[in-house]
């Protein structure tokens, strides 16, 4: 049994609710607040409540715990914070406290059980990890578990959700077209642990992290490529935090956009075909605000002949969330869809044909949001645009 608010205290963040200036700047960038316009859903309101609870050494009540999970962990609050409160970490650790109190939402407990039993969030057999490769069987047939310097890490969503399999297929096609010698882990690919990091179950992610790193190192991998920013962030930021910087030494982690840009610069792929479409780019929170990666995708899109890139009113570090982060899809699916709908509305104002991003979670959210809003826009993942532009 841990002491009250120990996760926050260990990192010295229990003072942050008192540091909060209550200016409310975080409120009007917070997707959960904007969905309800009640301060109880805003970062300011939550910090104010936590301030009193921490001061009076009281437990987080169950209803408040549920509100803490009404959050996409998009990081917009941290970005605008007047007093530079590291809010992303703060919310993660608060969720850890909620876990210690055994007050995690039902969906988080379900994911926890699934991960403990099957090493993936879908509760499926690990042998089915390569179901996504069906359409590119010929390209990956002899690549599972082989030694190579480049590995593709698909992640649970792409591996098991048929509607997202095309992201993985696209990446494989690009790698093949560029002549990259790559490997995939197959059934040795475990969940990256992102759901645990998001829910504050850090210790539970330890084994998954160690397994994945060991599997990659055993194959002599130096570069790992991701379509999923959540997986990418887990490897690039959470693993070193959890296991120490040494644990990831000798490995580089690249999102699809950065990897593609490298291939372009090295001349391994080249866009020659005209691609006469207008695209509104959405920065995934876990790449953008969380890791400050904004430019590679734009550079790739700008390299495609005929493609017109449109920026939304809120772009880059001010980009609004798609509603898919922070496990909100599981804890409050309706709120998630409404948030996505608002982002779709913003994209519509650019006059673009497509909303584009590079993230399986954004893909799911935007497809829901487009349906919810009856929008004429279509969503395309960056990998899809690249494959179409290359004519693969």
């Amino acid at each position: 049994m841990t002491k009250p608010y120990e996760p926050l205290k260990i990192e010295g963040l229990d003072i942050e609710p008192t540091v909060c200036a209550r200016c409310g700047f975080c409120t009007f960038v917070c997707p959960a607040y904007l969905d309800t316009l009640w301060d109880s859903q805003s970062p300011r309101g939550k910090l104010y409540q936590l301030r009193d609870l921490i001061k009076n050494k009281k437990k987080i009540p169950a209803d408040f715990a549920a509100r803490i999970f009404n959050c996409t962990l998009c990081g917009a609050c941290q970005e605008i914070c007047q007093t530079n409160i590291p809010l992303l970490r703060f919310w993660q650790l608060t969720r850890e406290e909620i876990g210690n109190l055994e007050e995690w939402p039902e969906i988080v407990n379900y994911i926890d059980t699934a991960l403990q039993e099957t090493q993936n969030i879908m509760e499926m057999d690990q042998d089915d990890r390569t179901l996504w490769t069906d359409m590119v069987d010929d390209l990956v047939e002899k690549r599972t578990g082989i030694k190579a310097e480049v590995a593709y890490f698909a992640g649970c969503n792409i591996s098991f959700k048929g509607t997202l399999a095309h992201l993985g297929e696209n990446t494989i096609k690009v790698m093949d077209a560029a002549g990259v010698d790559f490997t995939i882990l197959g059934s040795e690919e475990f969940c990256c642990g992102n759901p645990y990091f998001v829910a504050g179950g850090f210790d539970k992610a330890r084994e998954l992290a160690m397994h994945n790193l060991a599997a990659l190192k055993e194959l002599g991998v130096k570069t790992v490529v991701f379509n999923c920013p959540g997986c990418h962030r887990a490897f690039a930021e959470e693993y070193p935090h959890l296991l120490g910087k040494d644990s990831v030494e000798g490995l580089e982690f690249l999102p699809f956009s950065e990897f593609t840009l490298r291939l372009l610069k090295e001349g391994k792929i080249k866009f020659t075909k005209n691609y006469p479409h207008t695209v509104a780019w959405h920065d995934p929170c876990e790449l953008g605000r969380h890791q400050n990666i904004y430019n590679p995708a734009r550079e790739v899109l700008n390299a495609i002949p005929g493609l017109k890139l449109r920026e939304m009113k809120h772009a880059r570090n001010k980009a609004r969330c798609c509603g898919g982060g922070g496990l909100l899809k599981g804890t409050n699916p309706m709120m998630s869809v409404r948030i996505s709908g608002r982002r779709v509305e913003e994209a519509e104002k650019t006059g673009a044909e497509f909303i584009a991003s590079e993230c399986p979670s954004c893909t799911m959210s935007f497809n829901d949001g487009i349906e919810h809003k009856n929008s004429k826009m279509k969503f395309k993942d960056l990998s899809q645009i690249v494959v179409e532009a290359l004519g693969l």
Binding site: V19, R22, C23, F25, W38, S40, Q49, K55, Q82
Partner: protein
């Protein structure tokens, strides 16, 4: 005190989804940006009993009508981003939060005015105006989260005010719901609103919550002006017609100086050259604190002036050249464009330094620019040994809206309580140096009459008397109101007196037995029964004392308490 039937009726009026009486929710809407010392919280007992978020003027009207009939206290609230206590509930009741009235109703590029809901956030408004090639002439430094109606109610100046004036100068017309539920446009003549003869009301409130609007007549500036700064005491502002300007280029210059004399001299010199969009300074101590939190730019001097020019590139470059030339005389260094833009981007972030506290005791007062050096010297002398950050922005009347921040720690209850006097003393020092209060809210009620001027204050008081004689709408703001001690504090006083009375009697018998025996021999505590008797008398005395305390205006309590706080700070600091 709200009762069960009130909750249901209020929820019916505003809509179930837009009403809450949950404990955690009322807690969140019972504070503003300022942290109050524990005992001040106990005495004032700012605790709302319910929150309503109206969506139309008619709903506001019906809410007010119902609350007036049922004697329910109402506190209007924008987004709670001010620190003057203007949105604090003092006697429980209903907080009416306006953020759902956030539409843009009209943009008139001919007259360069817009009509918006009072609850629209400045940040959102600026973004939407930008799409139209427009901008607000002035907006507050809290723009990312404060409401248009909130700033109008609280008053003051902000970014753009050096050139275009404060919020008062921007408002053309208001739609206001008076305390009796009547909806008026301030375009009605001042006589019809502030004196007896009323014209036909737009809407008098009804039970079916149905209303159709009528067209307003030409704006009446004076009537409009009397509602600005009135802190929601005269009515709830629901719609605003305000001026806008074309969106022009902003060229921010950051100029650093070695000392206050050069800084203030340079600011006056800039104003002789041009009326910039925004002219702002920070002191060297503020700069030092920014350095500690990693937000200070790398500059030559530690006194910084931000001068934002507005116009075409050519116009701005020409004026910037003249300013740069003039600054040499004041040993000023015009810093790089990058630093200029950094400081401009930081204009919304005056509280970066709060992390060093982790609390801040803020204060704000207007001081004439030509008296600023005296004012700063006076403050430094008066607050010797205190860590004080100071910044100021010049308005169109060459007054500086000075904002001071004292680092403090609210977790240290006693020193934090005593340190509270500093916020009030800064205002007094400002006034001694030719200044005036910045905003009234609750804490500056003692300055009300002077702030509004006798004539306007009388007009406002008359309207208040006519429409809200029981003072149910935002009591204790602008007009003095008595303390409303919480039950807890009331009981505390009674029991304290209950113990003090028999102890004093025993002490008197020990100290001067002959005097007591000669004059009041029946006043004696020598056994349990007599102790209990005087204990009960003490309870009665305590009851009378707390009832008497409930008659004292908060402003008087503050005036009486100030010297004690000052003394306490000296002891505990």
């Amino acid at each position: 005190m709200l009762r069960k039937q009130h909750f249901q009726k209020l929820a019916d009026i505003v809509g179930e989804d837009y009403f809450s009486a949950e404990g955690y929710m009322t807690h969140l809407y019972s504070h503003d940006i300022a942290a109050l010392p524990g005992i001040v919280n106990d005495v004032l007992n700012p605790h709302a009993e319910a929150i309503a978020q109206p969506t139309t003027s008619e709903v506001v009207s019906n809410l007010l009508k119902y609350c007036k009939e049922n004697n329910i206290q109402v506190v209007p609230r924008g987004h709670g981003t001010s620190g003057y206590g203007g949105a604090l509930p003092t006697k429980g009741g209903l907080v009416v939060e306006m953020t759902r009235m956030n539409e843009i109703y009209n943009i008139d590029k001919g007259s360069m005015t817009i009509e918006v809901g009072a609850g629209i956030i400045w940040g959102k408004l600026l973004e939407l105006l930008e799409d139209e090639g427009l901008s607000a002439a002035a907006y507050p430094s809290s723009a990312p989260s404060s409401t248009v109606g909130g700033w109008i109610a609280a008053g003051g100046s902000g970014i753009g005010s050096t050139k275009y004036g404060g919020i008062r100068e921007q408002v053309v017309e208001l739609e206001v719901v008076l305390p009796d539920g009547e909806i008026i446009r301030t375009s009605q003549s001042e006589d019809s609103v502030f004196n007896e003869g009323k014209t036909k009301p737009f809407f008098g409130g009804d039970d079916s919550f149905y209303w159709e609007s009528e067209e307003s007549s030409a704006p009446n500036k004076e009537s409009t002006s009397l509602f600005v700064d009135s802190n929601g005491t005269l009515g709830i502002i629901t719609k605003v017609v305000m001026k806008v300007i074309p969106l022009r280029k902003i060229k921010p210059l950051t100029i650093s100086f070695p000392n206050k004399e050069q800084t203030m001299g340079a600011m006056q010199a800039i104003l002789r050259i041009t009326q910039p969009f925004y002219l702002h300074f920070i002191t060297d101590e503020f700069f030092g604190m920014l350095k500690e939190v990693g937000k200070a730019p790398d500059v030559a001097g530690e006194w910084l002036v931000l001068c934002a020019l507005e116009g075409t590139d050519e116009e701005n470059d020409e004026v910037a050249g003249k300013i740069a030339e003039a600054m040499a005389m004041y040993h000023g260094t015009v810093e790089s464009d990058e630093i200029g833009h950094h400081e401009w981007d930081e204009r919304f972030y005056p509280m970066r330094i709060k992390r060093l506290g982790p609390s801040l005791a803020p204060s704000e007062v207007y001081v004439p620019l030509e008296r600023m050096v005296d004012f700063i010297d006076h403050c430094y002398k008066h607050f010797k040994g205190e860590r004080m950050a100071m910044e100021g922005a010049v308005n169109h009347r060459n007054e500086v809206a000075v904002l001071t921040w004292f680092l403090d720690d609210e977790r240290r209850r006693i020193p934090f309580l005593f340190g509270w006097y500093r916020s009030l003393d800064v205002i007094n020092i400002g006034i001694k140096n030719g200044g005036r209060a910045y905003s009234i809210g609750m804490w500056n009620v003692a300055h009300s009459r002077k702030f509004y001027g006798k004539e306007d204050y009388t007009k406002m008081a008359k309207l208040k008397q006519r429409t809200d004689s029981k003072n149910y709408l935002n009591s204790h703001k602008v007009f003095p109101g008595p303390l409303y001690l919480s039950t807890r504090i009331g009981l505390l006083i009674m029991f304290a007196a209950a113990f003090v009375v028999p102890i004093v009697i025993m002490f008197a018998w020990w100290l001067a037995p002959s005097v007591v025996a000669a004059y009041v021999p029946w006043v004696v505590v020598n056994d349990i029964a007599s102790f209990l008797l005087w204990f009960i008398v003490g309870l009665g005395v305590g009851f009378v004392v707390q009832e008497f305390a409930n008659l004292i205006p908060i402003s008087v309590v503050l005036s009486i308490g100030l010297p004690f706080l000052r003394l306490g700070r000296k002891i505990f600091h």
